[in-house]
Subunit: 468 residues, 2 copies
């Protein structure tokens, strides 16, 4: 895999408000970000928590949004009523609606699956999938063999990772569980345990890093591992550490490699977004631990499925052990369904006669390209926010040069706005995730580009209306 | 709920080899068991690990069982070949087969669902259940409203727990995840955190306790909570602790209440087996945190779904937060399917014209009664093992007196056998879980009563053949 930037810490100062500064312990230039380990209860914001803080009245066709006290958010119009669909909790959009672009909920794919849903439909009779076990002959005994086969087929189709040649597959309840399983597996390796001598293994990632990493790492105050923050300011000594490499990176979409130069590091590659709709596939990744998730590949976040491709059998075995103790395996129903979903994706490219509309990654690129174009257009007009610029790279899957179209926009506020997230929430009723959750400064905010069309279009309307 | 024994530590010495001894810190009599916190990697045995240690050769219609190094088990016939179904990994039974009764894999229910499977069948089109969110208006935002409704309906039908009247439902990836979520929620309560002043909260349960509790509690060496072992030997001071009350208790099937007498305790009630097929429903439980699982209620272990009924909103909120960070919610596909499964169970009792064969709990009792009868018969004949005796109690659901028919048999070896688990495994190729994993002595072993008929019948044959 080639990378767009050889100097990994460089976050391109594409907007005029950011000045590049020198990294503390590596030779590259970057925008220095606050090393900020957020508290667990505040770092993971969800729409429920945020929306829950809106006070409202129950009406005839309106249901009450219960207050959530963990994340206290004051809204300008605290007594407003919110229209909520009773069964799904999704909001009916209006010019006054709160737009939730905080979590990367991939509803953008709904349209594709409405058209191609029949191919991915699954029927499960009552007597099927009763047992805990999927395959006693496999190291990961709760991995459905058919799911493993479709995962390998998909990677062969896309060419984004080596999944054959003896690589082990470990399935997880989303790649979130696999992230924790990886931390467990790496920190309990015999040589690591000896070298750390009872101290938790430091875990780092280059900032801005995915806000989930610190929250998940420190949730239970584990004695095995501990969040240490930005990889750029981490001083590797003679003891082991774990570096998480997220590429393309959540939140900013940049391609990354490991930052810390040391022979004591263990790497986790989070490749959730290394799919052709988001970025150029420049080669098949072949790292020790590579994490993927169905959510960001096909859009089925509710299925809660991820998979890890793992080189070392002992690491895969310990990851399996973690999931065995954490949740005694992974939903078979989800795996059963995911078989059909991944099959539909592959068939869309490999079956003769499959039309253009059956090609998921092409659908994804088309929608994302339109959205990014609209976003850049409106930001160029109002001059309030800065955005990274990306270069085209040759995508082996698409067979041409393609521009990165990240799943999130990493906005940077200019002018006098110090807190981008508050500004968008309080003034414009747009929920985003603030930069500090990612180890960056408050001038940044992450905005999901994966919502439904109506959410995205409304967001663009709100941005258009901003006049400072 | 009434209990069979008012003296909670009394494990009835129904076999002649066990002498009752006095409990260390409570006034009741019980068989003293070793306080043994097992290591994680050894405490959770699964069929895969055990079977993996059998060396074998790949043949034309046989697949190789890969060696698992975590649990080293030497078998008498180490070069034997094993017939393994390639897709499910289940073993074709023969007089020489290894019988896996270690995990409580509830395949006993397959027969019921083969007959009633149509009522519980579910079809999921490709476009459904894409979002992370199930219901933004609910505290547990990833709980499907239809699933919550069927859970409440089921509890009203069975009368085993109060699920209405403002009780919160938190869904988990099996009750295993909910156990961890409960530990997190209780140990991070503001008053507990202050009282513990940075020290982990001790977690106890009366021995023999479910082997999962110590393994899960100590897996990540959490700074929030720590396994402390047998509740009977726990000295409650002035600081908080958590007691897990499992009733009917896994592994021995006895009904339990809390052991430790102190006002500083927080309780988790694990009621996985408080269903009419296993025990008399003597009343609706109404505890602070009550855990249930689909696995042991309907048999769908592969669905990996559990639920907690929680009184306090803040506790439920913190449990939700744990699951949010651990796995970002729970499979919607599983919940969608479970709606149909629980509906089929309730319909089997509530719909006019539903036949006898549609009554799950009656099916369960019938099969379990036959198995327990066979087991007691063969054990009475060979006089090698002891078993607890149970008393009949009035079951409000069945409307008559019923005998407990636990999901596990808690065997105690007599004579000169010091290690019941090894004896059954090495001499008779029956995989069970040894007493030490449960904080008891090696003379005990837990045997699943929930396997398929052929496994159970073969087990009975092996027991019959034992001559010492």
């Amino acid at each position: 895999m080639q990378f767009m930037e050889s100097r990994q810490c460089l976050q391109k100062p594409s907007n005029p408000f950011a000045e590049p500064k020198r990294c503390l312990n590596c030779s590259c230039r970057h925008i220095r970000t606050a090393h900020f380990v957020v508290s667990i209860l505040l770092s993971i914001h969800n729409g429920g928590s945020r929306l829950g803080s809106l006070r409202n009245k129950a009406g005839s066709s309106k249901v009450q949004v219960k207050p959530k006290n963990l994340v206290k958010v004051e809204m300008p119009s605290a007594t407003q009523e919110i229209n909520v669909n009773e069964t799904t909790g999704s909001l009916a959009m209006s010019v006054d609606s709160v737009i939730n672009l905080d979590r990367g909920d991939p509803k953008v794919y709904e349209k594709f699956w409405l058209e191609n849903g029949a191919a991915a439909a699954v029927e499960i009779p009552g007597w099927q999938k009763i047992s805990y076990f999927s395959d006693l002959t496999n190291l990961c005994w709760f991995l459905e063999p058919d799911f493993a086969a479709e995962i390998r087929r998909l990677h062969r189709l896309v060419g984004n990772a080596v999944a054959d040649h003896g690589r082990h597959i470990v399935v997880g309840t989303g790649s979130s569980q696999l992230f924790l399983a990886s931390l467990f597996a790496l920190s309990t390796a015999p040589e690591v345990a000896v070298a750390c001598n009872g101290r938790p293994v430091p875990v780092v990632s280059s900032a801005p890093y995915f806000s989930y990493y610190p929250a998940a790492t420190d949730l239970l105050k584990s004695g095995l591992f501990r969040w240490e923050g930005d990889a750029c300011s981490f001083h590797a000594g003679s003891t082991p550490y774990i570096e998480v490499v997220c590429s393309p990176r959540n939140p900013d979409g940049s391609a990354r490699t490991a930052i810390v130069k040391s022979c004591n590091g263990k790497l986790i590659h989070d490749l959730a977004y290394y799919w052709p709709q988001y970025t150029a596939i420049t080669g098949a990744m072949d790292e020790d631990i590579m994490l993927f998730t169905v959510s960001k590949c096909t859009g089925h976040a509710g299925t809660r499925l991820g998979w890890a491709l793992v080189k070392d059998a002992e690491v895969a075995r310990r990851m399996t052990k973690f999931i065995e103790v954490n949740t005694i395996g992974v939903s078979k129903d989800s795996q059963y369904r995911a078989v059909r979903i991944l099959k539909a994706v592959c068939d869309g490219y490999e079956l003769e006669g499959a039309g253009e509309s059956a090609k998921l990654f092409h659908f994804g690129r088309k929608v994302m390209a339109r959205r990014w174009e609209k976003l850049r257009e409106v930001l160029a007009a109002n001059k309030v926010f800065g955005l990274m610029e990306f270069k085209k790279l040759h995508c082996e899957f698409m067979g041409k040069e393609t521009l990165p179209l990240p799943a999130f926009a990493w906005l940077e506020c200019g002018r006098d706005i110090e807190d981008c997230e508050s500004f968008l929430r309080q003034k414009h009723k747009v929920l985003t995730r603030g930069g500090k959750d990612f180890g960056a400064d408050g001038k940044h905010a992450r905005v999901s580009m994966l919502g439904r069309d109506e959410d995205f279009d409304m967001f663009i309307q709100r941005l258009k209306a901003i006049r400072l």
